[in-house]
Amino acid sequence: MISFNASFYNVLNHASGRYAFALLSGILNGVAFIWVGSISFIANVPLLLALMKAPRLTERIWLGALVGFFAGLHIYGIAHYGWFLLITFATYTASQMMLYGIGFHYLWRGSPPWCRLALPVVLWTLTEWIRTLGPFSMPASYVGNIALDQWLAPWLFLSPHLGGLFVSACIALIQTLVFLAIVDRRHYRPQIFVGFGIFITLGVIGLLTPPNLGSDLRSTVSVQSGLHNNRYAVAKVDPFARQEIIDTFAVLSTRAYSSLPDYVFWPETAIRSPIFDNESLMDQLFPPKNQRTTLIAGLPIRRDSKRYNAALAILQHQIKDESYKIKLVMGTEDHFTPGQVHTPLHIGSDRVGVMICLEAVYPRIGQSLAAQGAQFLLVLSNDAGFGYSPITHHMTRRAVMRALETGRWLVRVGQAGLSVIVNPRGEVQQSLDLFTPALMSGNVQLRDDQTFYVQYPNFFPQFTLAALVFLILVASNRRRKLDNA
């Protein structure tokens, strides 16, 4: 009878086995992305085992690349917008995991056991952080996988303090503990004990510091049209389909206005034909002039011969404020000009932080809006092109993280869904199913205070960078001693 550990030896001794482990990690990461978020807790363990046994730098790089590429392919729903996007995303994810492999190569050998506890955590945290930087960044995070897993709420409640990245680091910590336990649980017993203790302590801290839910109430109604993107393709050529889209919004919005809410929300690029030069269309679609309801609508708009994917605050048929989407989708939104800066919409005394679709996956955009005084967050989205693929749920979980990090209520309104209202604890208060034309009513509460993360978003990444420098110094020093010996 071959023991469990002996089986690992047998498999990992051969390159073929190590690549199989890397592929397994890619699959686990992918499954965590789109189906079972909590698999994140073990997703990189096979990769760590393979990296540890790989003899060369090149192999470690390829092992990392395999994990990243295959995990990225699980976001197959973006192929609806073009195979190019899916391959680009998977390649990008692969490039980040290659950095993970390189870091492991240079720092594992020579690191003392306590540094080995920290190494995978630091490497994962930094690669996840790098994904959020730069104009072509495409974030992917462990915390985004588990954002709606309420049994993990104690750790999610750490997000307002140190950001979602810190929660991802906690997940990477558990991966490391499992990895060390498989490698040699006797040798690493103190590290496993302390690591587990840290994880539990952090959970207790989170449990004792649940986010504040805010004060003043605002009533909202979100309009989910349930229209698929191909309806807009038909509307380009057929006026009958164009009218059907307008009628859909007119009927649903009229119902929404009838309850006299403070806000009505439309999704991203809800109506793509001109509205503002047609008074009867405005009467049909916008809140009545004698009503104090503000419509925040995702609409394309022209400004100085440029076309923007905009969020417009409309009151009494007038645009009171507007913001433009900055993070446009490559190859799909090239006809739009990107906006310059994210600022909250000012509506009376309220400040609403609006993110359009993909922008909700970027932690810094939500943080920046809250830092500028946004009292609640709004995500106008058009996920209709993803069809029924699981990516829509993934995008929704990622948006929920912005509520947790900033301590703000968040409303996400999708063209086809998912539309949700989430409180600052990440709890879903209201939701609508995919491709259901319907209204979602619910209150949000305003918050003016700023979480530690909103004030110091770079604290944890900088701390992690410092930890990396420390690990490099220790490992190089110890390796020199080992080589001399």
Binding site: A6, P239, E244
Partner: protein, 171 residues
């Protein structure tokens, strides 16, 4: 069996592929194949969406061209009823009769030409079939055909139309 501790990187050396590795690869390959099939089905399945007013089918292809808005159960009479102002109704058996339809408020003229904005061309083809021509889009023709739906046709359908009537459209 190799019982060296796992904690250090080994020197490169040859090890035979174990049976566990083979089983692992077989399992992973099965997953990859299953995932590809699942994703392909999910990406390409023809799932209708239920809108507020109609149920919409995903685009498809036909001999005429790309069917942007499939309506397999709709006849041309149904589509005319939806697109032309309801009063007074268009009587299909008399619609091409210039004399009796002269005073009909929704009939603009009897001719075969590309319809302008807020117009439709109801055409009778040389084979006797009726079709609607809705307009032109980037060098292609937008039509409606019974049992098919709204089509983007690359070939000019006007060449096959022998009788036509331009109707007033609702939109």
């Amino acid at each position: 069996m190799n019982n060296k501790p796992l904690t250090e990187t080994p020197e490169p050396c040859y090890y035979p592929v174990s049976s566990q590795t083979r089983y692992l690869w077989i399992s992973l390959t099965l997953y990859v194949v299953a995932f590809i099939i699942y994703a392909a089905i999910d990406l390409y399945r023809d799932q209708p969406t239920v809108g507020l007013f109609n149920t919409h089918l995903p685009p498809t292809n036909s001999v005429y061209g790309n069917v942007l808005d499939p309506k397999p159960n709709l006849r041309i009479e149904d589509e005319l009823r939806a697109r032309v102002p309801p009063n007074p109704p268009i009587q299909m058996d008399r619609v091409f009769d210039r004399v009796s339809m002269r005073a009909h408020p929704n009939v603009i003229e009897h001719s075969v030409r590309l319809p302008k904005s807020k117009e439709l061309l109801l055409g009778k083809q040389t084979n006797g079939e009726l079709m609607l021509i809705i307009g032109e889009y980037l060098g292609e023709w937008v039509t409606f055909r019974s049992g098919v739906g709204v089509i983007l046709e690359p070939n000019n359908p006007l060449v096959d139309v022998e009788l036509g009537v331009i109707l007033r459209a609702r939109q």
